[in-house]
C-alpha cells in the first residue's frame, strides 16, 4: 500500500515539473512568476491571456487525455484478459478516427466537437474486434491480430476519404496524427466531465475486475455477473477513448505504455492500477508533448500522437523482446481454411489467364475518354496505358507472392508486407526521397523506398530472431515498426507543404504514370525470384506440417524459412517501391488461392500470383474509369474491395479450431 501511494505521489511530482516545463514552452518566453501570476493573479496582460487561453488548456487536455487513454487501456487489458489490448491496438482509435473523418466530409460546416461520430466509430470497431477475436476463449493474440487488421481496414478507408475529399478533410491531418493544440477551454470543458465520469465508474467496478482476473468460471461461481461487468467496463473504456479522440485525435501507445509500467512497478489491485495509470498516462502524454515541442521552434508543430508512437513503438518492441525469450517456436503448422470442394487446377489456371486477358484488353481500350485520331490513340496506348497496365499486373503478382511466402514462413495467415511493417518502411523511405533529396526522380524514390522496406524488414527479423520468429512476436514487432514509420511519415507530411498531395497518392498506392523501367524491374524480379519461390514450395509443403514433422521428414526448416522470408521480403520491397503502399493483395490473393486449390504450395503459388495480378489490374481499371477525369489510386480501390472480404475472412477463421 505504502509503495503504491509513493508511486502516485512520485508521478504527481513528475507531472508538476513536466507541466511547468510544458507551459514555458512555445514561441514566447515566459518566466515562472508570470505563469504563477496568470493562474492566481490574472491581470489581463497579453502574457496572462496567452497562458490562460492557449498554454493552460493544452496542458490540461494533455493531462486529461493521457489519463483517460491510460484507464481505457487498463480496462481493455484486464477485461479482455489481453496484455496487448488498448484503443490503438484493437482498432478502436482507428475506427473512431475514420468515423470522424467521414462525418466531417459530409458535414463540413460542423464546427463543434465531433464526439458522437467518434463514439459511434469506436463502438463499431470494438464490437467488430470482439466478434472477430472471440474464437475459442478470446485468445489475446488472435484479438490483437484482428485489431491490427481492423486498423488497417479503417486507415485505408480513411485515406480514401482524405484523397477523394481533399478539401473537406484538409484540416484533419494534424488532428489525425494526434495533437494537443488548443485555443480555448472548449475541449477541456467538453472532455473533463466525461473523463471524470469514466474514472469514477471504473473505480466503482474495480473490485469486480479484481475478481474477474480469477477467470470467468471462478468469478461466476463467486456470484459475479461476468458478462455484465465485462461489457460495462469495455463500454467505459470506449467512452473514455472516444471523448479523447474527439478532442485531440487518435493518440497511440499511451494506453499500453502507462498500465504496463504501473504493473511492472508491482501494483496489483485494479483500483490502484487505475489511479497510478491515470497519473502515469498524463505524465507520458504531457512529457511526449513537451519533448515534441522541445524539438520544434515557432509555429512549426510536431503532432504529439506521432511522438507517443516514436516513444511507444520501441517500448512495445522491448516488451515483445522480453516476453519473446519465453516463447518457444510454435511447433504447430499453419492454420488455413480451404474450400470444401476443390476446383480442377488446370482449368482454374486457364480460366484465370483468360480473365486476365479480358481485363487487359478492357484496360487498354478504356481510359475514360475516346480518341478521335488514331495516331494519338496509338501513342496513348503504347506509351501510357500499356506500361501502366503491365506494371499493375506484375506488381500484383509480386505483392501476392510475397504475402504468400511470408504467411507460410511465419505460420501466420495474417502476415503480409503491410501487417509486418515492410510497407510502412518503404513509405517512409519514399517520403524521405520526395522531401529531402533535391530533384528526386521516380527512380530515386523507388530506390529509397526499397531501402526503407529492407531496413524495416531487417529490424523486424533481427529483433524477432530471439524468439525464433515466433508469429506473435513478429506481428508485435511489425506493429511497433509500423507505428514508428507511420509517425515519421505523419511528421514529414505535416511539416512540409510542397507535394503533400503527391505523397498522399504515393502512400495510397498508385499505378499512375508507371513506365517501362518499372515493368522491367518487376519482370526481372519475377523471373529471378519466382522460380526460387517455386522450388521452395516443395519444402514449404513440409514446413506447413509444423517444425517437428517437417524436420522429421527431412526438411531443414530454419534454412527454408530464412530463404523464403528473404525472397518474400525482396519481392515486397520491389513491389512496394514500384507501386507504393498497396495493401491487402498479399493478404487476399493467398487466401483465395488456398480456398480454391487446397494446400499444395506450388499450385497455390501460381494461382496466388495470377489472382494478385488480376486484382491489381482490375483495381487500376476501376480507379481510372469510375471518377474520370480524376483518378482513385489503385491501392485504395484494392482496399475498398479487399476490406469487406478480409473482414469476412477474419470472421470465418475465428471459428477455426486447433
Amino acid at each position: 500500500m505504502l509503495m503504491n501511494k509513493r508511486i502516485v505521489v512520485l508521478g504527481l511530482v513528475i507531472l508538476a515539473v513536466l507541466s511547468l516545463i510544458h507551459i514555458k514552452q512555445g514561441s514566447v518566453d515566459l518566466s515562472v512568476r508570470t505563469i504563477v501570476g496568470a493562474i492566481f493573479k490574472y491581470d489581463q496582460s497579453v502574457e496572462h491571456d496567452l497562458i490562460r487561453d492557449l498554454r493552460l488548456p493544452r496542458l490540461v487536455i494533455g493531462i486529461i487525455a493521457g489519463g483517460s487513454l491510460a484507464i481505457s487501456g487498463v480496462l481493455f487489458q484486464s477485461l479482455m484478459r489481453n496484455p496487448l489490448a488498448s484503443a490503438s491496438t484493437l482498432g478502436v482509435s482507428a475506427g473512431s478516427y475514420f468515423s470522424v473523418v467521414l462525418f466531417s466530409v459530409f458535414f463540413s460546416g460542423f464546427r463543434g466537437i465531433p464526439f458522437f461520430p467518434a463514439l459511434v466509430g469506436a463502438l463499431i470497431a470494438a464490437i467488430v474486434v470482439l466478434i472477430l477475436g472471440r474464437g475459442r476463449g478470446a485468445d489475446p493474440v488472435r484479438m490483437t491480430l484482428a485489431g491490427v487488421a481492423l486498423s488497417l481496414v479503417f486507415s485505408s478507408m480513411t485515406s480514401a476519404l482524405q484523397l477523394l475529399f481533399e478539401h473537406e478533410s484538409k484540416g484533419l491531418f494534424l488532428w489525425g496524427a494526434g495533437s494537443l493544440v488548443q485555443n480555448s477551454w472548449r475541449g477541456v470543458k467538453f472532455a473533463l466531465p466525461l473523463v471524470l465520469v469514466c474514472l469514477a465508474f471504473s473505480l466503482i467496478i474495480s473490485r469486480k475486475i479484481d475478481i474477474m482476473q480469477l477467470g470467468d468460471d471462478t468469478a461466476s461461481s463467486l456470484g459475479l455477473n461476468v458478462v455484465l461487468y465485462r461489457y460495462i467496463g469495455i463500454g467505459i473504456g470506449i467512452l473514455a477513448t472516444s471523448s479523447v479522440v474527439a478532442v485531440v485525435g487518435p493518440i497511440a501507445f499511451v494506453g499500453i505504455v502507462a498500465p504496463h509500467i504501473v504493473k511492472r512497478l508491482g501494483v496489483k489491485k485494479t483500483r490502484e492500477i487505475l489511479v497510478s495509470s491515470f497519473v502515469l498516462g498524463a505524465v507520458v502524454l504531457v512529457g511526449a508533448d513537451a519533448l515534441a515541442r522541445a524539438f520544434t521552434s515557432g509555429s512549426y508543430e510536431l503532432p504529439v500522437g506521432a511522438f507517443t508512437a516514436i516513444i511507444g513503438g520501441p517500448w512495445l518492441i522491448y516488451l515483445a523482446f522480453k516476453t519473446g525469450k519465453n516463447m518457444g517456436n510454435s511447433s504447430y503448422g499453419l492454420l488455413v481454411q480451404t474450400g470444401k470442394k476443390r476446383l480442377a487446377y488446370k482449368a482454374l489456371v486457364i480460366g484465370l489467364c483468360l480473365v486476365i486477358l479480358l481485363v487487359f484488353v478492357l484496360s487498354l481500350g478504356n481510359g475514360g475518354s475516346s480518341f478521335l485520331r488514331s495516331a494519338t490513340r496509338d501513342f496513348v496506348i503504347a506509351r501510357i496505358r500499356l506500361p501502366r497496365i503491365v506494371t499493375a499486373l506484375l506488381a500484383g503478382i509480386v505483392l501476392a507472392i510475397s504475402g504468400f511466402l511470408l504467411q507460410t514462413v511465419l505460420n501466420n495467415t495474417l502476415a503480409d508486407p503491410s501487417t509486418l511493417g515492410v510497407t510502412p518502411g518503404a513509405a517512409l523511405g519514399a517520403l524521405v526521397a520526395i522531401y529531402f533529396l533535391k530533384g528526386s526522380t521516380s527512380l530515386t524514390i523507388s530506390i529509397s523506398a526499397f531501402i526503407g522496406a529492407l531496413a524495416a524488414a531487417a529490424v523486424i527479423f533481427i529483433i524477432s530472431k530471439r524468439s525464433k520468429y515466433n508469429p506473435i512476436m513478429l506481428i508485435l514487432v511489425g506493429m511497433a515498426v509500423t507505428a514508428i514509420c507511420d509517425a515519421a511519415v505523419n511528421i514529414i507530411v505535416i511539416n512540409t507543404t510542397v507535394g503533400k498531395s503527391a505523397s498522399l497518392v504515393w502512400l495510397a498506392g498508385s499505378t499512375y504514370g508507371r513506365n517501362w523501367t518499372n515493368v522491367m524491374t518487376l519482370l526481372v524480379a519475377i523471373l529471378t525470384l519466382g522460380p526460387i519461390a517455386w522450388l521452395l514450395c516443395r519444402n514449404l509443403d513440409a514446413v506447413m506440417l509444423g517444425q517437428d514433422i517437417a524436420t522429421a521428414i527431412g526438411t531443414n526448416v530454419q534454412r527454408i524459412r530464412l530463404l523464403s522470408s528473404l525472397v518474400g521480403i525482396l519481392l515486397a520491397a520491389i513491389g512496394v517501391a514500384t507501386v507504393g503502399t498497396v495493401g491487402f493483395i498479399g493478404l487476399l490473393a493467398p487466401h483465395m488461392a488456398r480456398f480454391l486449390t487446397g494446400i499444395k504450395h506450388r499450385k497455390n503459388l501460381v494461382v496466388t500470383g495470377l489472382l494478385g495480378g488480376l486484382l491489381l489490374m482490375t483495381a487500376d481499371l476501376i480507379g481510372r474509369v469510375v471518377i474520370y477525369p480524376s483518378e482513385i489510386p489503385s491501392g485504395l480501390v484494392v482496399s475498398i474491395i479487399g476490406a469487406p472480404y478480409f473482414l469476412w475472412l477474419l470472421y470465418s477463421t475465428s471459428k477455426l479450431k486447433r
Binding site: S331, Y332, G333, L334, L335, V336, Q337, T338, G339, L535, R538, D541, A542, M544, L545, G546, D548, I549, T551, A552, I553, G554, T555, N556, R594, G598, I599, K600, R602, L656, R658
Partner: protein
C-alpha cells in the same frame, strides 16, 4: 549393421538440464518403451534421438554415425518420428498427408514415382485407412487421425520409428487399436519401435524392453518383469502398489494403493 544409441547425452532447454550424461542403446527389431514420472525427460530423450532437440553434450549415433553431422534427408530415410499431438491445417486430405512421408525420396520436381505410390498405398492399407484416403483430415475421429499420422510415418519406409505418446488423448479402444497396430508392425516387419507411454499396464503388455528414467538418468532397464516391480514404482513414481500378473497376458500389472481408502492401504495390511 543398423543401430541407434546415445553416447554420454546431456539434454535440456536453455539452462535446465533434464537428462544428464546418459549413454543408452535401443535394441533393434524390438519394442522399447520409456517410462517415468512427469517431466523426467522421456519426451526430451525421444526428441533428441530424432534430432528435434540438439544435445547439450554427447551425441546420438545412427548406425555408428553422429546424427548431427548427417544430411537431414538421409536421417529421414533411416528413422521416423511421430511427435506428440501433431496438428496440421484442416484442408489437407489423408492421402496428401501420407504422401508427405515420401518427401525425403523426392527430388525438386516433387513427382511421386511408382515406388512412392506403392509405399503410400501399403501404409494406408496397414493402418486400415485406405477407404478414407480422400477424406479431409479434420473430418476424422481422434483415433483415425492418429492412424493417418502413423501411416505417414510408415510411408517414410524407415527401420526405426520413434513415437512420443502416440495414445494420449485417445479413448481406451483407440489406445489398444494403435498399440496393436504398432505391435503388428514390429512383429511382421521387424521395425524397431521406441516410444513414450504413460499407461504402465499397457506398457508392460506391449514392450519387449523397458527403460525407467529418474533423476536425469536411467534408473533401470530390462524386460517388463524386471522393470515393473513394487520397489521401482515406489522409487520412480513415489507410489505404493502391488504387482499382480495380467490375467490375460501374464505381464506385470499394477494395482495402486489409495491413501484415503483405509481397508486395503499398506498400513491396514500391516495390522
Amino acid at each position: 549393421m543398423k543401430n541407434i544409441r546415445g553416447s554420454k547425452l546431456t539434454l535440456g532447454y536453455e539452462n535446465t538440464v533434464i537428462i544428464d550424461g546418459v549413454s543408452i542403446e535401443f535394441p533393434m527389431n524390438k519394442i522399447t518403451i520409456l517410462i517415468g514420472a512427469n517431466g523426467c525427460g522421456k519426451s526430451t530423450m525421444v526428441r533428441s534421438f530424432a534430432r528435434l532437440l540438439k544435445p547439450m553434450e554427447g551425441q546420438v549415433l545412427l548406425n555408428g554415425r553422429n546424427i548431427s553431422t548427417m544430411v537431414n534427408k538421409d536421417i529421414s530415410k533411416e528413422l521416423a518420428i511421430l511427435p506428440q499431438n501433431p496438428i496440421v491445417a484442416g484442408g489437407i486430405t489423408v492421402k496428401e498427408l501420407v504422401e508427405m512421408g515420401r518427401f525425403p525420396y523426392q527430388n525438386w520436381q516433387n513427382k511421386l514415382k511408382a515406388e512412392d505410390k506403392e509405399m503410400v498405398e501399403k501404409a494406408l492399407k496397414d493402418t486400415n485407412m485406405l477407404e478414407f484416403k480422400d477424406r479431409r483430415l479434420d473430418s476424422l475421429s481422434g483415433g483415425q487421425k492418429q492412424r493417418v499420422w502413423i501411416a505417414m510415418v510408415l510411408a517414410q519406409g524407415t527401420d526405426i520409428i520413434l513415437l512420443d505418446e502416440p495414445t494420449t488423448f485417445l479413448d481406451v479402444t483407440y489406445q489398444i487399436e494403435i498399440l496393436d497396430l504398432i505391435y503388428k508392425l514390429n512383429r511382421e516387419e521387424g521395425k524397431t519401435i521406441v516410444m513414450v507411454l504413460h499407461d504402465l499396464n499397457l506398457s508392460s503388455r506391449y514392450a519387449d524392453h523397458m527403460i525407467a528414467l529418474k533423476d536425469k538418468r536411467v534408473y533401470r532397464q530390462g524386460t517388463p518383469d524386471q522393470v515393473v516391480t513394487k520397489d521401482l514404482i515406489k522409487d520412480v513414481f513415489g507410489m505404493d502398489c502391488e504387482i499382480i500378473k495380467d490375467p490375460l497376458y501374464k505381464t506385470p500389472m499394477l494395482v495402486p494403493y489409495s491413501q484415503a481408502i483405509w481397508s486395503s492401504s499398506p498400513a491396514s495390511q500391516a495390522i
